[in-house]
Symmetry: C2
Subunit: 222 residues, 2 copies
DNA sequence: ATAAAAACCTTAGAAAAACTAAGGTTTTTA
DNA sequence: TAAAAACCTTAGTTTTTCTAAGGTTTTTAT
C-alpha cells in the first residue's frame, strides 16, 4: 500500500491537528497517509530541508499568515511556498488560507504557481479528501472561492503595468494623489494622466478614486 | 421537487443523446432534469430565443465546433455562448469541447466568460453529475485539463499586445517573416524587432521560430 | 459659509520608446 | 552552391509618455 506524506504548516495548532486527524483517519482505499505538522515559518523550512535527505513530502499544506516567532524579517507561507518550489520541486504545494480576496488569490497563483489553493471557510472533511485525491492524481485543485477569483481574472482583458498597480495600491491605503510622487518614480502630472487613463479603461470616467479602487478590487488588481 | 432544464447543442446527435439519457436517468435527490437537444447553430439559437418567452434553461451545454448546415457565415458554439450571455443572462453556459489546447480554452474563458468548460475526453457519468451539481450550486466548474490551462495562464506574468499575437499566430501557420507585413501594420524591421524582443521575454534568444511558437503555445497565446 | 487644499484639466515642450529604412552578415532553403 | 530569408546594426523619424506650469473645479477643514 502506497504511503503518502503530508506536511501541514499553520501557526494555529488546532487547525493543523484538525487536518492531521481527518486525513490520517481517512479510509483511502489505496494509500495510507501520515501528516507532519509545523507551527512556524522556521520549523516549516526546517522540515522541508530535512525531507530533502529522507522521504520527501508528497503534499505541503501552507497557511499564508504565520505569526512572527523571532526577530527579523517577517516571513509568510508564501515564502515557504517559494522555497519549497525550489528545494523540493516534486512536492505538491497547496495553500490553505483565510484570504479570499481576488488580489491575494491571483497574486499567489502568479508568484508561487501552487498545485492548489483552498479558502479556509471551504475546508471540510469532504473537500479535504477531494483535494488530496485530486492533487495526487490530477492537479491542480482550487476551492470554489478560488475558482471564482480565477474566473474573474480570466474574463478580464485588462492588463496594467507596475506603475499603475502601485498607484491604485497606494490610493487604496489612503495616500493622497499629490503624495504618490513619494512612492512612484513619476511626476504628479504623469500620475494624474495615468489615473485618468485607468478610469477610462475601467469605464468610470469622471468618477472618484473610491470608484477606481472598487473596480481594481473587482478585477483582482488589489 | 425542483425541475432543472438543460439545452445541449452539439452537431453529433449521439453525444447529445448521451448527455440527455445520462442526466435524465440520474437519481438527483432534490431535482428532476429534462434535456432539450439541438444539432445545429440555428436550432440552438431558436431554442434559446423560445426559452425567453417560456421557461428559461438553467444550463446550456455547448460544443464549440458545429457543422455548417446552411450557406452563410459559419457560426460556432462560441457565437451561441455570446448570444446566450446577452439574451438569457441567468442561464448558465458550459462549453463541452474537444479543444484542450491552452489557447482555445483561455480565449473562450476571456471572450465568453462561461460558467464552465469541460474537455470532452474528461466527460463521463460522474463528471457530468459533478458539473451539473456545481454549476447549479456554486459555479464555476472546469474539468481537469481546463484547470491545467488556466493554471498555466495564471502563473505566467507575461502579457503581449495584439501585434505580437498576430506575429506569433501567422508564424505558427507557416507565414514567412518577410510576408508578415501583409498581415500586420508594421515594417519588416519593426516585426524583426518585436520577434527579437519576444524571444528575450520567453527566454529563448538565438533560437528559431519554432521555439518561439512552442513557448507561445505553452503559455496559451496561440 | 468660507478659505485652503487637493484634484482635475489643458497646453506646450521634452524625453523615451517604438518604428522605419537601408544595407551588410549569417543562416536556411531550394 | 546559389538564392532566399532571417538576423543584426546604425541612423533618423514618428509616436507615445512624461514633465512643467498654470487655471478651474471639487473636496476638505475650520
Amino acid at each position: 500500500m502506497e504511503h503518502i506524506r503530508i506536511l501541514a504548516v499553520d501557526d494555529h495548532e488546532m487547525i493543523m491537528f484538525g487536518y492531521k486527524y481527518i486525513l490520517e483517519d481517512a479510509d483511502f482505499c489505496d494509500f495510507k497517509i501520515t501528516v507532519d505538522t509545523a507551527n512556524s515559518f522556521e520549523l516549516g523550512i526546517k522540515k522541508i530541508e530535512e525531507s530533502t535527505i529522507s522521504y520527501k513530502y508528497d503534499i505541503i499544506l501552507l497557511d499564508i499568515q504565520l505569526s512572527i516567532t523571532e526577530e527579523g524579517t517577517p516571513h509568510t507561507g508564501e515564502d515557504i511556498g517559494v522555497f519549497a518550489r525550489k528545494t523540493v520541486p516534486d512536492s505538491k504545494v497547496v495553500f490553505m488560507s483565510s484570504f479570499s480576496d481576488n488580489y491575494r488569490i491571483n497574486n499567489i497563483l502568479t508568484t508561487v504557481d501552487p498545485d492548489g489553493y483552498m479558502v479556509k471557510s471551504e475546508i471540510n472533511k469532504k473537500t479535504l479528501y477531494d483535494m488530496v485525491h485530486t492533487i495526487l492524481k490530477d492537479p491542480p485543485y482550487y476551492s470554489s472561492k478560488a475558482l471564482q477569483a480565477i474566473r474573474r481574472k480570466m474574463s478580464s482583458n485588462i492588463s496594467i503595468d507596475e506603475n499603475d498597480k502601485k498607484i491604485i495600491y497606494h490610493l487604496s491605503i489612503g495616500t493622497k494623489t499629490k503624495d504618490l510622487t513619494n512612492h512612484i518614480s513619476l511626476s504628479l502630472a504623469g500620475i494624474e494622466n495615468r489615473k485618468r487613463h485607468l478610469k477610462v479603461i475601467f469605464g468610470i470616467e469622471k468618477q472618484n478614486d473610491q470608484a477606481l479602487i472598487n473596480e481594481a478590487k473587482i478585477r483582482g488588481f488589489i
